[in-house]
């Protein structure tokens, strides 16, 4: 199996999708000749032509509106939003159209639209190139939300997202594009949307994460192991739907729960995990449900490191969950 970066795995998935199904179309700002600002679509326009892979005007509303229309008319569009921070001018097409078209049409229209976009911090990107706004998508009923943490999952989940008849917001951590590497099969495969993965087994505490925070969580788990604390790390992979069963199974075993994300705390996804468990498994819990998150503020620039969750913050969160702090 070849080793690929996250960027390569994604490019490979798009290539396969374009190859397999002539209804797949890729578009967005600079995705053509330029191959996208992160080169994820590099070479694809040359290979598949300007009707399949094409640049758009600088207008996210046009991009997402086009996505909905293509889907409604039977295509399988894959739209790139250059940074998820820039989706808001087009949010109406996602929130009011993509997410609701199936329901409002009595199920007559499907919206097999994938919206790919880089998210996340630790890239010195400041306020508008670092945010993690997954909450706004997860709370929008009708959307699915996927955030992979490694090249293998990324490829399988992206192919699953393209094959899915629902609109999927697919977030890619931009710091991982070239730093995350792993073995990736060359052919077509799907990873199931909605299924989490236990990426490290443990018995004392459950640590829920997704995207780049899976790496920080694993690092924290290693540190904690040295202190004799056994951490189970779950990579959620999908936030909507999320794998409630995997969470409950783990919490039933460990009795302690910590969730990690880069997004601000208040109503970040950790709130859902906490509420979910507090509603149906509070009797299993032997300590507070802890959230390790970014702060409730716009994303900073020079002080980014003070904002970002990190292994130290996670270790502290775990200790708090274990009533050790």
């Amino acid at each position: 199996m070849p080793t690929m970066t996250l960027a390569q795995a994604l490019r490979n998935a798009l290539d396969i999708a374009l190859e397999r199904d002539d209804r797949v179309m890729i578009f967005g700002e600079d995705v053509g000749k330029r191959g996208g600002v992160f080169t994820i679509t590099e070479g694809l326009q040359e290979k598949y032509g300007e009707m399949r892979v094409f640049d758009t005007p600088l207008d996210e509303l046009g991009i997402l509106g086009m996505g909905v229309g293509l889907a409604a008319a039977g295509m399988r569009p894959v739209a790139e939003i250059q940074f998820i921070d820039y989706i808001w001018p087009g949010f109406d097409a996602l929130y009011s159209e993509a997410a609701k078209l199936r329901f409002r049409s009595g199920g007559r229209f499907a919206v097999p639209l994938v919206v790919r976009s880089p998210y996340g911090g630790r890239v010195k990107g400041g306020l508008y190139h670092s945010q993690s706004p997954e909450t706004l998508f997860v709370h929008t009923a009708g959307l699915k939300v996927v955030i992979p943490s490694n090249p293998y999952d990324a490829k399988g989940l992206l192919l699953a997202a393209i094959a899915d008849d629902n609109p999927v917001v697919f977030l890619e951590h931009k710091r991982m594009y070239f730093m995350s590497k792993g073995e990736v099969p060359e052919g077509y495969y799907e990873e199931p949307i909605g299924k989490a993965k236990v990426v490290r087994e443990g018995s004392d505490v459950t640590l829920i994460a997704y995207g780049m925070m899976v790496l920080d969580s694993l690092e924290a788990a290693k540190t904690l192991e040295k202190e004799g604390i056994s951490v189970e790390v779950i990579d959620l992979r999908s936030l909507m739907p999320f794998d409630g069963e995997a969470i409950l199974n783990s919490v039933a075993k460990t009795g302690h729960l910590v969730t990690v994300h880069e997004a601000p705390r208040t109503l970040g996804f950790a709130a859902e995990v906490a509420a979910f468990v507090a509603e149906r498994a509070i009797e299993y819990l032997d300590g507070p449900i802890v959230r390790v998150t970014g702060w409730d503020m716009p994303f900073p620039y020079i002080l980014e490191d003070a904002y970002m969750p990190n292994p130290v913050r996670i270790v502290r969160g775990v200790k708090k969950a274990l009533n050790l702090l």
Binding site: K100, R102, S105, R108
Partner: protein
Amino acid sequence: MSPRKTRSRKVAVGKEVLKKALDLTPFTDEPLRFIDEDGHPVADFSLEDVGLDAAMAVRIYEDMVLTREIDRMAWVLVRQGKAFFHISTTGHEGTFVPQLHTLTEEDWVAPFYRLPASLHVRGIKVEEIFAQYMGTRLDPLKGRQMPGHLGHPDHKLFAHGSGVGSQFAVAIGIARALQYRGKGMCIAYGGDGATSEGHFHSLMNFAGVYNLPVVVTVVNNQYAISVPRSRQTASKTIAIKAMAYGFDGFLLDGNDPIVMYYATKKLAEKARSGEGPSLIEALTYRLDPHSSADDDKRYRTEEEVKYWWEHDTLKRMRTFLEDMGLWDQDREEALRERVKAQIEEALNRAEEAGLPDWEELFHDVYAGETPWHLLEEKHLLAEELKERPLHNPLKGGH
């Protein structure tokens, strides 16, 4: 001037008006038209000249009348408490009906809330239109939307949302799909107010850049609820906005069904054959209040409304048919009776269909398997409904 001279001047002016319309002149200051405000031809022309035949001309009038009567019945349903809202088509029949008749089965329609009463032209059954108003089981949308929405892929009719202008941005993708497949065009509708939304800008800009097969039709009825056209945009006309996007815009008399048919047919064909997009501004007037929730006396005068009722597109079309020798009082009466019966029957069927079951609430949120959390919520609701009756909205109260 002598009466003779005045008359010959009028004829000369009429000929000029006719020529401008036949030439499909873009960016005019006055609306292109074939019939005057009373319905008489502006100058001599044959049906053939304007791409019509007698059957189609009559058909357009008949469908306009049917549309009007469906719309009037909707107001009755509101008064009866069988529908909770209405947003009227009355006054716009001369825009929608002829346009829809120019379309082929390959073409798509991205409509807005003013069209529904006319959408029988696109193959939606009259009973389905009424069912949508009431949210009964024959509603293609399964009671999921307020009155004034329709859509179905079988009719290549987009199921639009309620956000003003939202269908414009979606039309980009529909047109792009048609372009990719190499057949058909898309007609995208919105009001004068909708031109202010970014969605209009997006569609116009993408249409220009990709040379999309789309005819953008702005139904300029001169108000967006209470806001008059003059406070909506400062451009001389709405048609002129196409200049900002590199293609042609046409100001048409939206109450002249002949020019609407003629121009749309040509521009749709142009789009289909890869020669690019067009913008149509159909100048018309909303004869009713904005909706059943509006009070238009707050913002427009009775005189103004009266003027437009007197020049109702329906009257104009009838006069034109009479001038052409295609219509008379007998035919009118026969039509009225047919329409009345048709509506009565359709309404009955729509009503008898009954309301959807509560379980259907959980369908269609997602394609494929219903996710676990929705199944759980369905279970919660099932338990709840053992303890209370589901409120039937058709029975009133809350």
